[in-house]
Amino acid sequence: MKSFDYVRPATVAEAVAAAAQPGAAYLAAGTNLLDLMKGGVSRPDRLVDVTHLDGLDAIETLADGSLRIGALVSNADLAHDPAFAKSYPAVAEALLSGASAQLRNAATVGGNLLQRTRCAYFYDTASRCNKREAGSGCDARDGENRTHAVLGWSENCIATHPSDFCVPLVALDAMVEIEGKGGRREIALDELHRLPGNTPARESVLEPGDLIVAVRLPPAARAFAAHARYLKVRERTSYAFAVVSAAAALRIEGGKITEARLALGGVAAKPWRARAAEDVLRGVAPTADVFQEAAWRALTDAKPSGDNAFKIELARRIVVRALTLAAAGTPARLPALPASPFASTSGAIHA
């Protein structure tokens, strides 16, 4: 690991000033960053430790009914908060389907949003990677790429964003509160991550020094609590990243879907909101046919970036099944294997 200066700011303003310097990186739990630093993939000159800052670890309901989640709340504390899990069950299920219990205890909300891709060529410093070293090339494009992107990719980068948490969050219109050199601002989570285009090294819209201080769910997000699921296919049943995942959330009244939310994970460099599919679902009865139509709409623009054409068909089937499970109703208790298609209580339904 390259040596670095360690800075522990006392306030958010001090943190922003310290992290705005070239070569600086924020340190929260470090569950991803330290791994990358040990491998020489990330080589910051300065770590700005935000874990001792006050006021960033609360889960609070605001006057307008929004939920505000501090950036330093751990993934486990959020998922296991009973009120949170009841109101936003797909988010809790996504959190518990990610990583291991040890990592969820440490990893933070803000860190989860900004975790880096799991592309093996990004991790291997002997490989060419435009994300790690701009302009060096992309060895994934002609390499082992069966898990890579099928949406929004470019010739310069076919990596995916690995977060589970972000998938239901983006479906529920989550907002991100950012403290920066110009003060506080907020953006939609859907606008936080950038598609690779010609600049895959720029993964988000954040500027140097920008610090995510909270994630907010709008009041409407809790209206989906009765019909919300996260479903994730991975190479093994637990402790693995998504090959493809989907978050489905429905409002059903009088036998008809009044509003639908759908997002996909593991398919692009950002959590992928499928708005065209949502439009198909609004105002109709929740049937297998309409779910199939939604799945086709969600993947209309998909194309393989390598040996991964199977992910397009897999994603369609995951969408149908996630919608079917959501329509059947959120279970009273999360299944033993969260988000797993093999969970005994998932109501195993094949699309």
């Binding site: 770590l47 296991h80 291991s100 219990a101 040890q102």
Partner: protein
């Protein structure tokens, strides 16, 4: 630049001067305190052999910078027995052959203790397997590990019932 930190390790306060901020909690425990029960397996947060409790919660000590945990309360495998009396989870691992080579065992036991405090799995073997998935065992002693955790969980439930009765 030197950094001073203090930790509580297995109940005792320990002060350290770090001449380099790169030291992980795992390396601090092993190299500075010679508490080598906590194992370095992958050193990348994948195997769970380095699991310890920090402020009561199980984490991978290989992915935690010591300097960032200034003031933390740490429990390692060396701190769970009371003298010669093994922790119930330790005893259950012996009773149920929850190991073969033993390298992953301290991490498994610390993870199991952390899991029981989290109270999410109860006595459901499927939930225990899921909640212990961050601890790999290359010998494949998983069946014994699950039996051991179930046994220890049962003992804890019983003693809790006795206490509340």
């Amino acid at each position: 630049m030197n950094h001073s930190i203090s930790l509580t390790v297995n109940g005792a306060r320990r002060d350290f001067v770090l001449d380099d901020p790169r030291v992980t909690l795992l390396d601090l425990l092993r190299e500075r305190l010679h508490l080598t029960g906590t194992k370095k397996g992958c050193d990348r947060g994948q195997c769970g052999a380095c699991t310890i409790l920090v402020d009561g919660k199980r984490i991978n000590s290989c992915l935690a910078l010591a300097i960032s945990h200034d003031g933390a309360d740490i429990l390692t495998i060396e701190g769970v027995a009371r003298g010669d009396q093994l922790h119930p989870v330790q005893a259950a691992f012996i009773a149920h052959d929850g190991f073969q080579c033993g390298f992953c065992t301290p991490g498994q036991i610390m993870s199991a203790i952390g899991m029981m405090q989290e109270a999410q799995a109860g006595n459901d073997p499927e939930r225990i397997r899921e909640c212990m998935s961050g601890n790999l065992c290359r010998c494949g002693a998983y069946a014994g590990i699950v039996d051991a955790v179930l046994d220890a969980q049962g003992q804890m439930d019983e003693s809790n019932q006795r206490r509340s009765a």
